[in-house]
């Protein structure tokens, strides 16, 4: 079971590179925002998988929940910020 979670975490981290590339390249700022919000989701999953690896999901699930909340609020705030810039113009 441990190796299973380790392999899943490593595969997830490898896929993360795609989103980092999108954040670096992304033609518009919304591509970067998409990359950041997807990375937040992936970090939540990775936290739970690491919790499964150490057999301490009971501890890691709280961290994952806090991270998910913060990442959601962060991406919502960024999207609203760009809309506000439009309204003030």
């Amino acid at each position: 079971m441990r190796t299973l979670f380790l392999a899943a975490t490593l595969a997830l981290l490898a896929l993360t590179l795609v989103y980092v590339h999108r954040i670096a390249v992304g033609p518009t700022v919304f591509d970067r925002l998409l990359g950041v919000s997807a990375l937040g989701t992936k970090a939540t999953i990775a936290l739970l998988l690491v919790g499964g690896f150490y057999d301490r999901v009971d501890m890691f699930v709280d961290i994952a929940l806090g991270y998910a909340l913060l990442s959601f609020i962060g991406s919502l705030a960024a999207a609203r910020y760009f809309e506000r810039a439009l309204d003030r113009r």
Binding site: A11, Y19, H21, T28, F30, D31, I45, L48, F72
Partner: protein
């Protein structure tokens, strides 16, 4: 039990790979958001289902499923906010033949 966890993890990682493919290959921000939000939400359900199954019944599994429920609601919401901001700020949707359409 272990087999079911492995299958769920594998399915979740497969859909993560599909979402990454969409991020690489899609032509503009709207199609990329389309690929990421839906496919990644499904992947979250499968992966967190695997983690919840591995812990067995109890408080921890309930919390993991609560995280899954939160992401199930939050992921489409933030995607909608980003899409709305992009549309209102005038990012043009991709067209195959822009000159013919104009």
């Amino acid at each position: 039990m272990s087999v079911a966890v492995g299958l769920l993890l594998l399915a979740g990682l497969f859909f993560q790979a599909v979402a990454a493919l969409g991020v690489v290959r899609m032509p503009d921000v709207y199609t990329r958001l389309h690929a990421v939000s839906k496919v990644e939400t499904l992947s979250v359900m499968l992966t967190l289902g695997a983690v919840a199954l591995s812990t067995g019944l109890g408080l921890t599994a309930t919390k993991v499923l609560l995280v899954a429920l939160f992401l199930f609601l939050a992921n489409p919401t933030s995607t909608h906010a980003i899409t709305r901001a992009a549309l209102r700020l005038g990012v043009r949707p991709w067209q195959r033949h822009p000159k013919d359409a104009a």
